[in-house]
């Protein structure tokens, strides 16, 4: 037995003997991990964190098992020293799902539990702030429940009969009494409706200081930044209480781009979800494809051929480069260098988009990966283009950006020591990607649990130690350099050969079971949790979105800072709203 299997065996013995009767192994076919009784959950989690070293709770989500009458909450915990996940679940009855909150143990569960409450109606007892997060207070029902139907509901699963094979197309509006995408519960009277109290709840929940500063009389005010605000990179809103110019408390408000990926994804066929993943983090579509393909391939048990693996890595790293340079450009915008640095960044990004367009047919929405390979091979001339980029142009241009920005007085003064996140906080809040690594935690999924063929390449996990805004800028520069290194090696090693294993298929029969596929996306750990019942559609399709979870630490980072700095702190996290709100 290898060292790792021995270790896992030991862990299993510890857990099962420590919690007899209340913890058991998940014996369903295709499932893994443990099933924990709700009342033992808190102790179980504490043991995991304090004794077994699972200090990082990556993903929390719920699954509605309607036929069994159960709600299940699924947790994925990792060690920040690397290694596979420990999966544990809690099953509660569907009509009264109450689960103890894990926020006291893993603060990173905060937003994810709120999301499960919002979309599935699972109550987390002891959660400090259990409000809706993606929808608004007063929305009717919990939409991800399997028996909840949207106004345009047509059938449980795609392909819909009306489109295939019958091929009659109609507009969904025509069948709705209002001609719009709306529906109202029976007996509802709009005149009796008191406008939703979301804002009031937010304002109430904000922290205040009792006494403002001694010598200078100041007044506390609440300021809303967003949802339409140039600094928020889309439709994001920050509600801050200010004492003078100093931030007392901050609450992020999101959901303004909640496009229901998960509900739509559970009606779609497996392959239909691929183009939807492009639109999650629309700045890094290839990485999203990658994560979803990995999750489903795990269930299908297929492995892409060698050449496809290399193409995937090249595309994923190109994505990381263009995402990071765009992020740096936008971050400089937030700092006040209005648009000039981002023009330089976008120039390079355009060249990478040209590559995407040449291989996939679209600049942004690539839809390029398939289960067991990629859609098209890289043509010879495009290969040469990538070659030029990786060996000539990009290294030069990155050095140039570096020269212009890194030692700029303004970048340093505004960045250093601002928005600090300590390593302990970063882990506790489940921060991922550059945010985690800039705080001195060298955790990179490509190293910690190598997927695809990342174990073959020679690269360093970039890490910085101050955890401030400036380090989060530097780390992106470092990572771009490492990505260039990986691409250079991949270009030298890539073999000839097929790019798909087996025949391309439209309809996949995915064996029943669950699977969690994760990649190190440009924003951090991007995970896809899928559950199959053996049918043509996923039963559950959940995205662990790094942009969303990284925001958990935002309030912590901004407290005590100046209001102008909240803007660059947000910029340094690098969120994309498509992924935050999904």
């Amino acid at each position: 037995m290898s060292e790792q299997t021995v270790m896992i065996q030991n862990e299993e013995d510890t857990l099962l003997s420590r919690f007899p009767k209340v913890v058991r192994k998940d014996e369903r076919k295709g499932y893994e991990g443990y099933v924990v009784e709700a009342n033992a959950l808190t102790d179980f989690a504490r043991t995991l964190r304090d004794e077994l070293g699972y200090d990082y709770l990556s993903s929390v989500t719920g699954v509605d098992y309607l036929p069994q009458g159960q709600m299940e909450v699924v947790y994925h915990a990792y060690k920040t020293t690397g290694g596979p996940a420990l999966v544990f679940k809690v099953q509660v009855p569907r009509d009264n799902p109450v689960v103890p909150s894990l926020v006291p143990i893993y603060p990173g569960a905060d937003f994810q539990e709120r999301e499960a409450w919002d979309l599935l109606g699972i109550k987390f007892e002891g959660h400090p702030n259990l409000k809706r997060i993606l929808l608004w207070e007063g929305f009717h029902g919990h939409p991800l429940r399997k028996d909840w139907r949207e106004p345009y509901f047509e059938a449980e699963h795609k392909p819909y009969k009306s489109r295939f094979p019958e091929g009659k197309v109609f507009r969904a509006e025509e069948r709705n009494p209002f001609g719009k995408n709306v529906d109202y519960p029976a007996g509802f009277d709009p005149a009796q409706w008191t406008p939703d109290n979301t804002n009031a709840l937010i304002y109430e929940g904000l922290g205040r200081v009792e006494k403002a500063s001694d010598d200078l009389p100041t007044e506390q005010i609440v300021v809303n930044l967003g949802p339409q605000h140039p600094s928020t990179h889309g439709v994001f809103r920050m509600v801050v209480t200010l004492d003078g110019e100093t931030v007392v408390d901050l609450e992020p408000v999101m959901g303004y781009l909640h496009r229901n990926h998960e509900k739509i994804g559970e009606r779609n066929t497996w392959l239909m979800n691929m183009p939807f993943t492009d639109r999650l983090d629309y700045l890094s579509p290839m990485s999203n494809n990658f994560g979803y393909a990995l999750a489903v391939e795990k269930l299908l048990g297929v492995k892409p051929p060698e050449r496809a693996e290399y193409i995937r890595v090249i595309m994923a790293e190109l994505t990381r480069i263009q995402n990071h340079i765009f992020a740096i450009g936008m971050f400089l915008n937030d700092m006040g260098a209005y648009f000039t640095p981002s023009l330089y960044a976008i120039e390079e990004r355009e060249l990478i988009l040209d590559v995407f367009e040449a291989v996939a047919g679209s600049r942004m929405m690539v839809n390029y990966f398939r289960f067991g390979g990629v859609a098209r091979d890289i043509p010879e001339d495009v290969m040469k283009k990538i070659h030029d980029l990786a060996f000539e142009r990009l290294p030069r241009r990155i050095d140039e950006l570096d020269r212009y920005l890194t030692n700029s007085e303004i970048v340093r003064v505004r960045g250093e020591g601002v928005g600090v996140l300590t390593p302990e906080q970063a882990i506790a809040y489940s921060a991922a990607g550059p945010v985690l690594r800039a705080s001195g935690v060298p955790y990179d999924v490509r190293r910690a649990e190598p997927y695809s063929i990342y174990d073959r390449f020679d690269f360093d996990v970039a890490v910085r130690y101050h955890g401030d805004v400036y380090d989060r800028y530097l780390i992106r520069m470092d990572e771009v350099r490492q990505s260039i290194r990986i691409i250079q090696q991949a270009l030298q090693q890539i073999p000839e050969g097929p790019i798909m294993s087996g025949k391309p298929q439209y309809q996949h029969r995915v064996p029943a079971g669950e699977s969690y596929g994760r990649v190190e996306g440009p924003k951090g750990e991007l995970g896809f949790y899928v559950v199959s019942t053996g049918k043509g559609n996923p039963w559950r399709y959940h995205v662990r979105a790094p942009s969303f979870i990284n925001l958990t630490a935002l309030a912590e980072m901004t407290k005590g800072q100046k209001v102008a700095d909240t803007v660059i702190i947000l910029g340094s996290i690098d969120i994309v709203l498509g992924e935050t709100d999904r």
Partner: protein, 222 residues
């Protein structure tokens, strides 16, 4: 003599200008000079909703550069903007803000629906939080297809908007008062204040149907 075609921009003399004054004097109509100024300084609102906004940024950047059309001045405040480029999916949660922003823009104002989502719901149309096209709430001047439309397509759409501006007259545009669009309210679902009566009627009927459906199995048993 000027050989320019009749309808090219500002200079369309119809009257002969003495040779020594050409280049110094222009004879035009009020409509022409007014529209010429407006069409070449359409300021978009700096406001992006989703993926399409990224292509809008690319259009503004060096390679495509819509500054060539006098549009580089992106304004973050609706009060200073002429065009609202609705770049992305409009969700129900965002809808009140979008309508409010439109109301705050000064006349003459234009709306461009960029991409499939803004035009009709796009790939996410069936989603429970997605509005099937902004034209259900705001008057749209130009629709640009694509998901996302390429920068070229966006520029083409904006040129179409310029053509539309050219066709207007100062009489219909100048001093026009903006019509306020009632702000949708977030209830159990998004509600248009103008439709309250219909909603009430609908929910009453629905309740009756449900009551009838509930009574039926009992009747069958008895």
């Amino acid at each position: 003599m000027s050989t320019k075609p009749k309808d090219e921009g500002l200079n369309s003399p119809q009257y002969p200008i003495p040779e020594d004054l050409q280049g110094v004097v222009t004879i035009t109509t009020l409509d022409r000079i007014y529209n010429w100024g407006r069409r070449n300084s359409l300021w978009p609102m700096m406001f992006g909703l989703a993926c399409c906004a990224i292509e809008m940024i690319c259009t503004a950047a060096a390679r495509f550069d819509f500054a060539r059309f006098g549009m580089e001045v992106m304004r973050a405040s609706p009060r200073q903007a002429d065009v609202m480029i609705v770049a992305g999916t409009v969700t129900k949660k965002m809808l009140p803000q979008v309508v409010r922003l439109y109301n705050q823009m000064a006349e003459p104002k234009y709306v461009v629906a960029m991409g499939a989502c803004a035009s009709g719901g796009g790939p996410f149309k069936e989603g429970y939080n997605v509005v099937s096209g902004i034209d259900q709430y705001l008057p749209v001047d130009v629709y640009i297809p694509g998901c996302p439309p390429t920068p070229q397509a966006l520029i083409y759409g904006l040129m179409k908007l310029q053509e539309k501006v050219d066709r207007q007259t100062i009489k219909e545009v100048y001093g026009r008062r903006a019509e306020m669009i009632p702000i949708p309210v977030l209830g159990p679902d998004v509600m248009d204040p103008r439709e309250y009566d219909r909603i009430r009627e609908y929910t009453r009927q629905k309740a009756e149907q449900e009551a009838a459906a509930a009574a039926e199995p009992e009747a069958a048993q008895a």
